[in-house]
Structures are given as C-alpha cells and as structure tokens.
Point group: D2
Chain length 293, copies 4
C-alpha cells in the first residue's frame, strides 16, 4: 500500500495550524512497515487482536465515510478495469433498483449558499437538516456515485470510488443557477481560475493560497441568489427550471425582443464587421502564404 493523499494533506494542515507540532506517522516508520508488509498482514493482525475493521477479505477495499461522502479504494478496485461490485456502495441505492418515479425538489441559494430546500410540501432551512435531506433524496435515487482514476499529490495515479449524494445535487443546482445570474466574464474567470485552483489546493491541503482564493469566491457569489428546481431519477440529476427574484441579468422578454435599449438588430452588422477585422487579416495572411485556413 503506497502513500495516500490523506496523510499528506492532514499533516500539512497540522503544520500550518501549529508550526511546532510533531507528527508521528507509524505507517512511514520502518519499524512499523517492515512488520506489516501490506493490507493482509494488517487484516490478520486485526483479526488476531480483535480490532474491528470495515475492510475484510470478502470486502477487500478501504472506506472512509463522513457526512458528505464515502470513499472506496485499494483491494480489488486497484484494477482500473474492474467495476465496483454492487454490494460495495454503502450510501446510495443501485440506480437499477431506485424508484421508478422521479423525485422533484427545489433549492434556494443566497450569495451562493443553499439556504432552503423544498420537497414534498416541506421546507427546510436549517443548514445541517438541509444537507441531510439532500443526502437522503439523492441516496434513495442512486445519485452521486463516482468512479475515477485520479492523480495523488505525490505523483501516483490511483483509482478511487466515491459517493457524494447530497453534494452532487447541491453543486449541480448551484452551477445551473449561476448560468442565470452570474455575469459571463465573472463566471469565466471563476471557472478557469478559482474552481481549478481551489480543487487542487483542497486536494493537496495547502493554505496560503486557499485564503486568497476563498476571498475571490465570496466576491464572485454576491449575485448568486435564486432557485433551481431539481429532479433525481435512477442515478441522474437534472434541473427542471431556474429563476431569481432579485437578479435581472437574464430577461426573457429582452432576449426575445427586437430592441434592447438602444440596441437595434442592425447594430450587429457593425459588431460582426469589427470582430471580423482581425479574422480577415488572418485569412488574408494565410492566403498570401498559400496556407489553408
């Protein structure tokens, strides 16, 4: 068993929080790893000494479960071409056995945070209950399973399986709503820069740039106010519609009318002509060199 990402990001976080802390990681001490050469030695030791473990010979993989997700790796999953066995998944129903009727709900966001979830006549606003309800809806409809070959901080590739039922729904609803309420270029900057880098540093456990990025995230979310109506069904999540009472960047009537303020259809001719200046020069230059565009 090689080095997982957890020990790296955990230790880095500890050193940041307390630069003088001393971390003892038995797993990396020769006295330990020379005695326990691999998973089997550890399972045998656990069996012999009565230590309870979730990984067994019949379920040969490791699991980490918390409120947000459960992860599975190692054991038979190390063959990237082996499908996770049906009985591995702990949190979500098999999509094939999920209800035949879709389940609909709505999530309201304020400044990018989910603040209300409406389902079956109930409205939930308590953050933890909201999250647990999203989890429950997704779990019973088989939503949130992930199977991926990822790249650990230390440079090894690793196959991981994850269940993040509620998060999958909330994130998908969030991204959809942003389409309605975020300015195009703010979103482009956020997508290319903030999402990409924030994922990376969370995965690796790095702090100084996390602080900087989080302030950028807050700055990007001021206008993410509105609601997404959602549907889950046999493993899939879709948005049925989205709306905002406060944000007005999208307006059905304007996007369908002939005029927007001083904008006339004929203005587009000038827009295109000007955009074409650079492209025409490019086309001319290619032609002059006898190259295909």
């Amino acid at each position: 068993m090689a080095v997982g990402n957890d020990q790296v990001r955990f230790e880095l976080a500890y050193y940041t929080l307390n630069p003088k802390i001393k971390v003892i990681a038995p797993w990396r001490l020769p006295v330990f790893y020379e005695r326990f050469a691999g998973r089997n030695d550890l399972l045998n030791y656990a069996a012999k000494t009565g230590i309870p473990v979730s990984s067994t010979k019949s379920k040969p993989w490791s699991m980490d479960e918390n409120l947000a997700h459960c992860s599975y790796e190692a054991g038979i999953l190390e063959d990237s071409d082996v499908s996770p066995p049906a009985d591995m998944w702990k949190l979500t129903v098999d999509p094939l056995k999920a209800p035949d009727k879709p389940e609909d709900f709505a999530v309201v966001f304020e400044k990018g945070l989910p603040v209300k979830l409406a389902t079956e006549g109930k409205t939930i606003t308590d953050p933890v209950k909201l999250f647990l309800t999203a989890n429950a809806i997704a779990r019973r409809n088989g939503v949130g399973r992930i199977d991926i070959v990822e790249n650990r901080f230390i440079g090894l590739k690793s196959r991981g399986n994850y269940e993040s039922p509620g998060l999958t729904c909330l994130r998908s609803a969030h991204i959809d709503l942003e389409g309605l309420v975020l300015d195009r270029e703010v979103r482009a900057l956020r997508d290319q820069f903030v999402i990409f880098n924030y994922s990376k540093i969370l995965y690796n456990g790095l702090s100084p740039e996390r602080e900087f990025l989080e302030e950028s995230i807050v700055a990007s979310q001021k206008n993410v106010n509105g609601q997404a109506r959602c549907r889950v069904y046999k493993g899939s999540f879709t948005v049925l519609g989205r709306s905002s009472e406060t944000e007005k960047l999208y307006d059905a009537s304007e996007s369908s009318m002939d005029e927007i303020g001083d904008f006339a259809l004929s203005d587009t001719t000038g827009f295109i002509s000007v955009q074409a200046i650079r492209l025409r020069k490019y086309g001319q230059a290619k032609k002059a060199k006898g190259e295909r565009v």
Copy 2:
C-alpha cells in the same frame, strides 16, 4: 427575437475563409425586420405562402438538427423556469420511458480519437458508423439532454436546450480514459487552458487562436490510447472500467506496493517536511500577527 450566436459565428467564419466576401443578412436589414416584427409574423407569412417550417404554434420554439445534435430555443423556452415539454425532444427517448435494462458498450481510443466501438457482439470502426451507433445507443436510453442558460457572444443571456446523444457518451468516455493515461500536469494544463479556450472560440467562431489551440490538443493526445467500458441507463452515462495496453502511467501493482523503484514509504516524511516549509512560515506569520489560519 434578438441576435443568435449562429449568424455571428457563421459570418466570422465566412470572412476568415474569404476576406472579400459580402454577407447579406436579411434579418438585420430594416426593410426586412420592420416588415416581420417577430416570430408570429414569420409563421403567418410561412403559412400564407406555403413555406414548410418546423416551428409551429403548438411547438413554439426553433430547432436546428444535424448529425451531432439538435438545439431548441425561443418561444416558451424563453422562460428559464419552464421545463421543456416532453414532446419537444426529437432525438432521445424520455429517460422515464427508456429500457429498464442498462445497455453496455466499449469505446477504444487512439491518440484521443474514438476508433472502435463494441456493442452486442458487433465491432464498428468506420468513423461515421461509429458515431451513428453511439448516437443510436444514447438516443434509445435517453442520454444527452441539456438544459442551460448560456451567454451569447453578443453579451445576452439565452436559454437553450440541446440533445447531443452520441457526443455525450464519446466525450465522457474520453475524459474518463484520460484519467488513466494522461500525465497529471499535462492534463491540468489541457483542462485549464485548452478546454476552456477551445470551447469559447468554437462558440464564437474565431480562427487564428483555434489553429494554435488545435496543435496543442494534438500534442496532448499522443498517449490517449485505450478503452473505456461504458453503460447507459435511463438518461445516465457511467464508465464501468478503463484500461490501456500501451500506456503505463497507472499500474495497479505499483500503486499498491510498498516500494516504487527507489521510493520508500519513509521518503514521504521528507516530502511532507519540505512541502510544509512554506506552510509553516505562513502559519508562523499568521500567529505573529494574531490572525486565524
């Protein structure tokens, strides 16, 4: 009806291909748009003169269909909170009415291109047939519907619905396989830089940077050789497993063993210590200023 993206990107492409071309766009000429004030005037004129159109009063939206996809916009879809009606979708079966049994198939990629598709005992290698087969599989299983508020080149937001059944499967399989065979940093650069910008310029119809980016794409795909085993089921797509006979960046045994070449578990201690240098300095600096990490 405001200005769609098609006329912009089409005209820009024409000007690039032939810088001296003259494009006549009736839609933007006052003589035309003052006579036909909107969709209804056009439908009436079409009815009166016997011009066949797909958009009708009972199906009040516009459609563009080709081998890869069908798009729907305008009409009742302009209300971003209205769900597309069930009878709008032309290409894909309603996920709720899709078969109760999942359908599995495998796609083989060479240098990032799909070159083989295996399904139900058949193996397809002809590029067009391969694409049509992917389309057929996805269509009968309800895969590839998209509902989104997008940002047109001209700066207006617009609600669009799309069906791209085969492409959804091929792209998802491709991305999954890349996890197995692409170097971490090559993929990171490709994700952050090439995908983001290539999408943007295809959407807008820009050429000089397209040429540059396409050479970068080719450079990134040399090692994207291998197979993804795929499943579609009632609207969802999943990968069951992925493998490569030629690419060796992932190796199940190495990722699970105690040693990789000269790499010992104890080396990770040094790795973490060195990574922690910057974080400890940060933690110390925050502490000295009395700030929370």
Copy 3:
C-alpha cells in the same frame, strides 16, 4: 485614421454608468467623416478656424497627456520601424542627456499602496505629492518611455508610444517588494490570473469583471508591506534592496541555515524521491516506446 481604443472604452464606461445615456460620436457619423477624410483635413480646418491643436505638420502625431502619462500615436509613428524622433517625448529627458549621477530614493508600501517616498532627505506621504515626486524623479532621469505595437479592442494592431515616468518606478518597486512578502502560490495566482485579466479589461473598458478582480487584488495585497530602495539612471530603473518590518516569509538566517524547524537536509532526499515518482514513470514509459525524453 481608424478607430482608437479610447472611444470604445469611454463609451462602454458611460453606458455602464448610465444605461440610458445617448453618446454622439461625430467621428463615426458619415456627415462628419465624409467631410473630414483624414488628419490633414482636420488640421487644415483647425488652422482656418483658429482651433489650437498640439498635432502639427512638423509634429505629425496625436498626444494625450495626463498626470500619469502621455501617449503618442499616428502620423509618422504608424511606420513601426521608424524610431520616435527625439523631440517627440514631452515628459522625460532623453536618457542620453540625463544626469551622469544616479538618483536614489525609497518607496514604502502598505497593503500594496505606496504611502511614503523618501528622497534627498525629504519624506513625502501625501498621495498626490508622492506621485508627482515619483514623476519628477523619473522624468529628469529619462525613465518610463515605452514603444510598442499593441492590439486594439477592435482587433487592429497599432503602434503606440507612451511615457509613464512615475508609474514605471512605483510599479517596478511594487513588483520587487512582492517577491519578498507574497506567498509563492498567491503571487503565481495573482500573476497568471489577476494581472493578465485586469490589464485586458482596463484596456477595453469592461466593468462587471473589473469589480470581481479588484476584490481579488485587495485580497492579494494584505501582506505587501515594506520598502524598496530604488535607483534611476539614464533611462533605467533598478532596486537596490528591499525589506519589511512586519512580513516574515523571507528570513536571511533561515534561508541560509541547515535547519528550519523540523526540516533537515536529509528530508530533501524524500522530497526529491517523491517528486521523481511521476517523472520516473514518464521516463520509463518513453523508454518502453523507444522515444527520446
């Protein structure tokens, strides 16, 4: 004379500030531009009617001067291979005629803003006076001339000459100080993302993303506290040294000592071994395929 960037960014700013404003730009009205076909017609009209203009037949270029800079373009400068004539530059002394003795000064920054400038025994803290002093120092030493072929928003290339004496010094001092006090990754994100995009939107006059980026800039500058000692001499600017009383990311003793907290030299062996995992896999893969690294 084609379309400069100023009219574009000015108008865009006006429309943002007051979406209902109506801008009349004579330069783009046929009734105007058909009467005045180019610069010469305008100069003739100005001469005939007694309108004072800075651009003359002996100084055939246009100028815009303000507190921060002066720009020169058009006229003979349109030949990108023609050097700007010595008598064109208005703000700065010719470097060849600048004093033979260098001039030194120091700038103190707080949260990234210049708050103090010390020169020849004087200390200036008033923002405008500080800026004017930086201007004066740079001007008499020939610092801040720029000669560049740039890319206008409308897609045309254009040759511009600029003098921005004080800004050149303050920006260079700022960038240098950041090396001392900014975390490596915060700076990398700021360099790649914020600087690049902020320059672009200032040049083009775009507002929604400017607001977002400015909050990111503030977030990045919290620790940019310290002083840069600067020298100007016959057109060049250099930093003589930099220091900070409050920021401690750089510490001469630590960077030269054998140990930093728990960091031992031998840890680097582990760091390198782990960094090498990905590279060794790459090297092996290339070798197996008979390719050169």
Copy 4:
C-alpha cells in the same frame, strides 16, 4: 546553507532520463553535513587541502557561470536589503562606467529563433557566434543584471543575483517583435499559459509537461519572422523599430485609413452598442440594487 534549486532539478532530470539511476548527494548525507556545518567549514577545508574555489572570505557568495549567465547567491547577499557590491558582477560592466555612446544592432528572427545579428557592419548567422556577440554587446553596456527575491521549489524564499546579458537582449527583442507579428489572442494564450508554466517547470526541472508545452511554443512561433532594431545604453535595452517582410497582420496604411475592406467607421457604433449590452444590464442591475458601479 539550505537546499538550492539546482540539486532538485538536476536530480529530477537524471531520474527522468534514467529511472534506475542512483544519485548520491553528499550535501544531504548526515555524515557530510554534520562534519561541514556551513560555508565557513567548507572554505576552511578547501583552503587547507588546496581546492580552488571562487567563493572567498572577501567575496562571500557562491557563483555559477555558463555561456548564458552567471548567478550569485548566499553570503552577504542573504540580506535582501544589501545591494550587491560593485565588484561582485563578473560579466557586465557597471552601467555607470559603460560607454557614453549607445550601441545599436539588429536581430532577425525566423519562427521565433534569432538567426541573424547585424552590428557595426558585420552580420552574424552562426548560432553560437550570434549568442556570444549578443553577450559581448550587452556586457560592455551593462545590460542584463537582475536582483530578485525568488521562491525555490522547496518553498523557501531566496535572494538571487543574476547576469544574463545576451539573453536579456534577445528575449526583449523577441517579445517586441511578437507585438508586430503575432495574432492578439494567440499571444494572449501564449502569455498567460505557456510562458507562465514553462518558466515554472524549467525552474523546477519537470519533464512530462515540458514536452507538451514545447510543442505549444513551436505552434505559436510560426509567424514570428522579422527584425527588431535594438539599442543598449548604460544598463538599458530599447527597441528602436521592428519590421517584417513576410507577416502582414500590421499594416501602417490600414491602421490609419478610414476603411479596412468592408469596415466603415460607422460599424464601430454597432460594435460598441453590442459590447454595451452586457454592461448596460450590469449597470441597470447595480442601479436597481442601489449599489455604486
């Protein structure tokens, strides 16, 4: 003395080239570094045993010199506020003692590579001679000194001084010429993506993404054909003019004329109106919320 970047990037390169190589780094072995606690112990040992070293008690810093540059660090330079002493610099004349007359030369580039250097009636095309000539010109005019606080791969900040005389001239000429011949967006992508990342991986010694990036660089340089006329003078480098016989993206007459193909000045009105759509919506939204733009 802490860990420099050289040992990291050198070792990583060796492991890539030969994944089975074993590197012995005395500097990181306790048996070595416990005997030689720092620079002084090493200098004493060198003196005692007659090993010639460039770092002495009167010149207490380390140096690495090659064709391209010389680097200086450690010793008294570790105080980031201490200016490098005048007698430290080995390659370049002190700008204060450089000739009173500027020296001009021209560099011709093909596909981004310098292929010809013309100076004082001589024309040099041999690559090594060209580089040595650029070095000689820059050295005698005091061009190419760098003083910087940088961020090592291992996360420590470090103050370094460098002389890279010829490279400074060739790179500056190259960047200037690109303004004339590179498409705006190709350059933007190259600047934000390729330069930033290529610098980082060269500094750190990483290979898989280097291969990818180098193919992107080649793709970006196809049109970098032309000449920059350059001047060096007492430490500064400027471009006097630039031209290209083959590349036609910039054309003085077009950039000054009223019309470009089908482009009329009045088209800009449409361009601005369309660009303003998004900004007007933003302005309206801010106003409706009572916020300042």
